[in-house]
């Protein structure tokens, strides 16, 4: 009896008030708020990349092309209704699994790790799993009574561990952790009992020493470096020291666009990829950093709103999981660049240069938009 009320109260405007733009958006199954947030972040990205890549237009155009491809993915996903998507979820998961196995067997070596698969276009199958795992879990939980039973949880663990195990041995610990996280978010939102949550937390704590043992040498070094970056200022601690200098020296107002000495003089490593947030902090200052965080909050907030107003379990869990996982990307990257957590290879979503992760993210936003714009058709 609460359901109709809930639906009405969360409806932003009545249909009569909608203008031309809103009607175009609705026709294309797009969401204005999300688009505004994403657009703002992409503008940030282009400005910063132009500065960080040495003011070269060709590189910038490459990124624009990647953005357009990613937007295509968004458009495509937005057209698929949640019910169709739900039915296709296991297929996406299965495809991802097959490709991951292929990577293990034949994959290219990129930056010392085996992550890439060359199928005409080079891409990382682990990206598919960023969507495949939450999709499958939501599909699985959709039909089942919630909170999930113990047996169901075992199945969930299997679904998560199978791909992440393969990704972790590539080795790509960062992506593996983020995928585990996205799965955890799904079961958390599905109402996982607190005693399970406590048990998992305890287990994770106990597993830490074991994790330390299986870590690669460079991964251990990253953790140690976080604790004391000065111990190795020209080695592993260099990234963190230089990015803190870049951000700190930006001050409140920043050194100005194209004027960041740390970035322009190449003191800052990986400045157009994982450490781009340091360039933003240096050139645009605290105000620029806060503006970007606000745009991210807008996107995450809108995503959570879509989740809250979604009509069925599948959409609800999926929208919530995608939004919160996106936020985790933002948090992990910014916290890492500012030396709050160890260096893990997570790019700043939508801002760092690079195509694959952006396509995945935008496809995710396409799903969110689809959930939002197909809602009434499903509900009524």
């Amino acid at each position: 009896m609460n359901t109709p009320q809930l639906g009405i109260s969360l409806e932003p405007r009545s249909r009569v008030e909608q203008g031309l733009l809103a009607r175009v958006l609705r026709f294309m199954h797009l969401d204005g708020w999300l688009l505004a947030g994403i657009g703002g972040v992409l503008v940030f990205s282009l400005l910063t990349l132009y500065s960080a890549e040495g003011q070269k237009l060709p590189e910038l155009l490459d990124q624009v092309v990647r953005m357009l491809i990613a937007f295509g993915a968004l458009l495509f996903m937005a057209q698929i209704s949640p019910s169709w998507l739900r039915r296709g979820s296991p297929l996406v998961y299965g495809l991802g699994l097959v490709l991951l196995i292929l990577v293990l067997v034949t994959g290219d070596i990129g930056k010392g790790a085996q992550r890439w698969l060359d199928l005409g276009v080079r891409f990382q199958p682990s990206e598919i799993m960023k969507l495949g795992v939450p999709l499958t879990l939501c599909w699985l939980l959709h039909e089942r009574p919630l909170p999930p039973s113990f047996g169901l949880l075992l199945l969930v663990v299997l679904i998560v561990v199978l791909p992440t195990g393969m990704i972790a041995v590539q080795p790509d610990l960062g992506t593996a952790i983020l995928i585990v996280l996205s799965g955890a978010v799904v079961v958390f939102l599905a109402g996982l009992g607190w005693r399970y949550i406590l048990a998992i937390a305890a287990l994770a704590g106990a597993a830490m020493p074991a994790l330390w043992l299986v870590m690669h040498e460079y991964q251990r070094k990253r953790v140690l470096t976080l604790l004391d970056p000065e111990s190795d200022p020209l080695g592993a601690g260099y990234h963190i020291i230089q990015s803190k200098i870049a951000i700190g020296s930006g001050g409140v107002f920043g050194k100005g666009w194209l004027n960041g000495t740390q970035g322009q003089l190449e003191f800052l490593p990986e400045r157009h990829t994982d450490f781009i947030f340091a360039v933003i902090g240096e050139e645009f200052g605290l105000l620029g950093g806060l503006a970007l965080l606000l745009l991210y909050l807008l996107i995450v907030g809108r995503g959570l709103y879509i989740a809250a107003s979604a009509p069925d379990t599948f959409s609800r869990l999926l929208a919530g999981s995608l939004s919160i996982t996106f936020f985790f990307y933002v948090f992990v990257n910014t916290a890492m660049v500012m030396g709050m957590i160890p260096v893990v290879g997570v790019p700043l979503p939508l801002v760092s240069a690079g195509g694959t992760s952006m396509v995945t993210l935008m496809a995710g936003f396409g799903i969110l938009m689809s959930i939002q714009t197909h809602r009434k058709l499903v509900a009524r």
Partner: protein, 619 residues
């Protein structure tokens, strides 16, 4: 039934989900708050700190070393200049494994094991980002060999630098000295700011004594560098001021003539202008190659130079101390005239030896059969020892010694390069202090006798002897010997000349007394029985001179001196002093040949050659 269950579940699930969403929102806001707090901490709280770090990252102050001044002779001939060369430099902070790198440099033949201790000391005494010179003046082969292996030596770099070169090589070696890498010892006396970019410093002689003029003023450049240290932008630049060119009093013709004449001998020749104390020639042989030393000798080559029995590193002209032998006679004669002990006319009979009253000990004349009856003129002309034994005894050691000191003997002359030795004018007081055994402490009358012919304890340096000769030529007027004629601003070309420094004159104003000894010295060169008349023949000018032969060790009584029996290094030292032209002297020369046996035969021709070379084109 299933239906009701589903509806009930649906409601519960919705509630559950809403609860979890609230927790998620709190989590999102909380983590965002953490990130914002960190941003504020870095960008507001520690802004000053990170700003300074950022500036330090990008701004480097690079010293610009000045170009060292040239060294010129009095006629503008270049004696020391700067030529480009390649050297291997190291930035210690960029070297990942210092011991391993040094080991491999030794294995590659670029360094020697013996160089390492000093190099390590320099590395630790400098700041880690200061460059340290590892090897200088690389040969083409070394350049090529290193270029191939360069990637294996991070932190090492080949740089083109201006190196010091000396066109006249060994001929001016002891005169000019050389430059070398700044040692830990040098650093104590150098201004670190002025020498921040300088790699070499004058080590000895002219190069060291006039370091302050030659070095110039260091400049610096504030540059923005990128992470690789590459210069991206120059913020500020203070140019260095080149060092002043140093103009020496040396006449290179005279210098080369002296060097040539001394080839193959151990000895020294110093020429001075009696009118002002300007040093015209300053040669010590054998000499080292200053080009090789400035380029950086290997430890082994340096030790070989140090241990050479002929002592090529020893500056005989400045630091060698020799008994003056008969070259002291004109001064002893003047002392005797001064104190009224003798007159120009007084005659002394010479039978080939002299004995003190009441003693049988014979002080032998160099001419066993004797000179017969000699006056002061012929005693100098023929170098009669008996005459001088006689007047020395009458003078006494105190009067003789104090008079010789008025010629500048027994004390440093004050020449404007450092490292002089004092020589020795003995006295009874000196002997008391110098000897420990009581039997050796008293002054014996015989020691006064042999002092009259420049033997015994009397010691002079070639520079002192030349200065004393110039003083005779100037009839008692004395000037401090000087090598620095002036210095030239290398930008404007304006020259600042140094003024001669007069010293207290010899306290003897009677012209006839000066005439007496100078006439005797003239007779040495041009008289019918002059000891060096062979050397005075066919000279286009008249000159005055005096030969000297100094015993290296004492010959026993009644022993015949046989040069062939005595090892070469035990032969007498040959000395000669001279000045010319006689009527208005412009050059005074002192020459010493170690173990040269005869002053008139071995040393006199060298003095003549120097005077010829100088007077040929001087006025």
């Amino acid at each position: 039934m299933a239906g009701t269950l589903r509806i009930k579940d649906h409601w519960r699930e919705q509630q559950l989900f809403t609860g979890r969403m609230v927790i998620a929102v709190i989590l999102v806001l909380g983590l965002t708050g953490l990130v914002v707090a960190r941003l504020v901490q870095l960008q507001v709280g520690k802004f000053e700190y990170y700003s300074a770090q950022s500036s330090g990252n990008r701004i480097r102050v690079q010293p610009i070393p000045p170009i060292r001044g040239l060294i010129l002779d009095r006629n503008g001939r270049v004696l020391a200049e700067n030529t480009p060369s390649y050297q291997l430099e190291m930035t210690p902070e960029q070297v990942p494994d210092m011991p391993d790198t040094l080991r491999r440099l030794v294995e590659g033949g670029i360094l020697e094991e013996g160089d390492l201790p000093e190099l390590r000391e320099i590395i630790t005494s400098r700041r880690s980002f200061d460059t340290v010179v590892v090897a200088e003046r690389l040969t083409d082969e070394e350049l090529a060999a290193f270029a191939v292996r360069r990637p294996h030596f991070p932190g090492l770099e080949i740089r083109a630098r201006l190196g010091r070169s000396y066109p006249y090589g060994t001929a001016a070696a002891h005169l000019l000295g050389y430059v070398g890498g700044i040692s830990a010892d040098d650093k104590k006396s150098l201004d670190p700011a002025e020498y921040a970019g300088t790699t070499h410093v004058g080590k000895i002689s002219v190069e060291r004594s006039f370091e302050a003029s030659l070095h110039g003023t260091s400049g610096h450049e504030d540059v923005v560098v990128n992470v690789h240290g590459r210069k991206m932008q120059v913020l500020d630049r203070i140019r260095s001021l080149p060092g002043r060119d140093v103009i020496l009093t040396i006449d290179m013709d005279a210098q080369l003539a002296a060097d040539q004449a001394l080839q193959g001998k151990r000895g020294a020749a110093v020429a001075i202008d009696p009118r002002n104390g300007e040093v015209l020639a300053f040669v010590s042989t054998p000499a080292y190659d200053p080009n090789a030393i400035s380029a950086g000798l290997s430890r082994r080559a340096y030790l070989a130079l140090q241990e050479d029995i002929d002592r090529p590193m020893f500056n005989r002209a400045l630091r060698g101390q020799y008994p003056p032998g008969s070259t002291i006679k004109p001064m002893v004669a003047l002392a005797a005239l001064h104190y009224g002990v003798t007159t120009p006319e007084r005659r002394v009979g010479c039978r080939g030896f002299f004995s003190l009253p009441g003693s049988r000990h014979r002080y032998r004349d160099w001419k066993p059969e004797g000179h017969g009856s000699v006056n002061l003129y012929s005693a100098i002309e023929q170098s009669c020892d008996v005459y001088f034994y006689s007047i020395a005894r009458e003078l006494g050691i105190e009067r003789m010694g104090s008079f010789l000191q008025t010629f500048g003997l027994g004390a440093i002359t004050g020449v404007d390069v450092g490292g002089e030795q004092t020589g020795l004018v003995p006295s009874p007081e000196w002997k008391k202090k110098a000897f420990r055994k009581s039997g050796e402490q008293p002054w014996y009358p015989g020691e006064t006798v042999i002092a009259g012919i420049g033997q015994g304890y009397l010691l002079v340096t070639p520079l002192q002897l030349a200065h004393a000769t110039a003083t005779i030529a100037a009839r008692g007027q004395r000037f401090q010997p000087m090598l620095l004629k002036g210095s030239r601003d290398s930008a404007t070309g304006t020259i600042e000349y140094e003024a001669p420094t007069p010293l207290p004159p010899v306290p003897e104003q009677e012209v006839y007394r000066w005439d007496a000894i100078i006439e005797g010295m003239h007779g040495v060169m041009h008289g019918p029985r002059g000891t060096a008349r062979a050397v005075g023949l066919n000279a286009p000018y008249q000159m005055a001179g005096k030969s000297g032969t100094a015993q290296v060790f004492t010959i026993g009584q009644n022993e015949k001196y046989n040069a062939k029996d005595v090892a070469e290094r035990r032969r007498d030292h040959a000395l000669f002093i001279a000045f010319a032209p006689l009527e208005a002297p412009r050059i005074a020369v002192a020459v010493i040949i170690e173990n040269g046996e005869s002053g008139s035969k071995a040393a006199a021709p060298i003095a003549r050659a120097v005077m010829d070379a100088y007077l040929k084109n001087s006025t």
